[in-house]
Symmetry: C2
Subunit: 402 residues, 2 copies
Amino acid sequence: MQFSERIRAMQSSPIRRLLPFSDEAKKAGKKVYHLNIGQPDIKTPDEYFQAVRNFRVDTIEYATSQGSNDLRDAISDYYKSWDIPYERDDMYITNGGSEALWFIVMTICDVGDELLVPEPFYANYNAFAQASLAKLVPIPTKAEEGFHLPPADVIEKLITPRTRAIWISNPGNPTGAVYTAAELEMLAGIARKHDIYLISDEVYREFTYDGQKFTSLGHMKDVLDRLIMVDSVSKRFSACGARIGCLIIKNREFLAQTLKLCQGRLCVSTLEQVGATGLYRTAKSYLEEVNREYKSRRDTLYRALQEMKGVVCEEPKGAFYVMVKMPVDDAEKFIVWMLQNYDLNGETMMGAPGNGFYATPGQGKSEMRLAYVLKNEDLVRATNILKGALEAYPGRLEAIRA
Amino acid sequence: MQFSERIRAMQSSPIRRLLPFSDEAKKAGKKVYHLNIGQPDIKTPDEYFQAVRNFRVDTIEYATSQGSNDLRDAISDYYKSWDIPYERDDMYITNGGSEALWFIVMTICDVGDELLVPEPFYANYNAFAQASLAKLVPIPTKAEEGFHLPPADVIEKLITPRTRAIWISNPGNPTGAVYTAAELEMLAGIARKHDIYLISDEVYREFTYDGQKFTSLGHMKDVLDRLIMVDSVSKRFSACGARIGCLIIKNREFLAQTLKLCQGRLCVSTLEQVGATGLYRTAKSYLEEVNREYKSRRDTLYRALQEMKGVVCEEPKGAFYVMVKMPVDDAEKFIVWMLQNYDLNGETMMGAPGNGFYATPGQGKSEMRLAYVLKNEDLVRATNILKGALEAYPGRLEAIRA
């Protein structure tokens, strides 16, 4: 008996692989503030629970492989409110945005085909590519430039005959970057010129701060046939456990190919599609309120980080993450050390090691991704713990050098 | 822009690809009896609805990637009632049995690796293998032998250095075959001798008829470290749309590898896991009653088929399918013709074309899989339609020869 090379080559999720250590800390009686994972404490809209409770059938039947018409119509209406002309038949409902991304990779990539991704990127992009034997090719971005894209010629130099798509997350996880209309037009131009796809993961669309107007790749009308939009209710409606996402493209041939994968797994949960239809009918005021809340949390976290000696980070402009460079030998070791050895009044905290968000070996070793998904008072406690832990950590760079 | 070779090589689901034709028939005002898909009209136990309605939280959070402890404990108890010693930590909850199978293929197969599968097999096995670039190698079985397995030496001749597993469905979809303890012992012996895995899809475990005792590969204690059990609530509890399955193996190293895939897609629906926990706590009397109902439907369908001239099939012993050989030029053409051109008092019916259940080219062309998932009176109507359609069909073999 053996394991496949593909599975052995896969890395574990940096967001989840250290959970055994936080479980140990909890067993030892400590409270753990989870800034490692994008699991908000925001309430899920009541529309979800109402829809679920009102669903009356005798038999929980399969849904169609494409997804329910009611949900797809609700998503279509939502996109039209963003001035993006997606119709019911342009989309499939998926098991979270994750399954949509997995299906996209399989639809466009054979073994060794390449996908250009601004680095750092959402760690699980690596999982979807590796499981399908495709290859992520990083587009380097810099913290000091707010993780914005390099000029077109830098990106075009990375394109080879194996390149199948440029794959972005906007607003960016883990960077918090929000791309400008000019950046998106540049990407659209490159995709047309080189005849490749665009993949846009926009699950944090509502979460931009400081009065910025969000521009979507879906606003670039001349790439809608090559733009694969990925979306999810997880973050927008604080319903991560509902596992409802979607894949959208104005390209019938693409949809015909991907349908084979959708039919292979039969369908997405019937009841969750009912709940998600409720979510997409939630009043806009909910999203506005949530945006204000995240803005406030962003400010709390960023202010606290700026006061920590040796900690470097840029103010995130969107989503609810920040990549933090710390004065430590190894961020993963530091996180484990903190869970095992450091607490303030019985409380400790957890981030996600930065190395998992890079494909380039050695990158991100001293970085950590923090998610500002907890209420302000919890963020204050968590950052106080982090500050104290950084001062006490034996692997702190000054400590090593001294 | 191009599509991957892998997606172009994938076949469409024979169970679902003809749905546009049944949609057309419905638009034209016809009623369609769906014997093409294993979607029972049996009631889902009330325990599901109660559990879902009683679930009270503020936020629908991610579940763990492994699956909820409550559900895994309920499944463990269920297996112990079958005298199979599976514990919570031996299993992961998956998006239906489908995702479990997909993850298994990726965990054990690289490009071109081989999986031995008794043929005909559940059509989507092809999808899972093709999407992962693995190869199904058919173990031939014969209708006239009740689709039972050939002797060990026939199976062993198919084993190559690329063989990773023997993959069965028991009771069999689409064959209705129920393997004997002797057959399962033979498979266990082959797997040990050649050091390969066993994959056992036992989602129809409760559906065996005529007083047969069901034996599971899980009863073969000396292969539990190489046996990957796949299960689902879909058929057992008539909850196909809940999309709750599981993958079970007594092998820590295997589970550590597969966990990377589980973490990649984060988790399975939180609410559906709550509902499924209710299902696994359903009284055994529900399953006994459902078994009696399917037995009665099997008898109704089989009796009607025997009365059709030129139709050949064996009495199925388990699951709720029968493979039917028909006196037609091409079963797929016949099904489409029936949906477009034939009705009895405004009613027509639909089966699944048999070719999709074979990997061997040309096999199954005149066959159709029928699912006896509708109540007896509907089965009587559906088989009357089938009988009339077979007589009227211009591609009937006698008609062609005449």
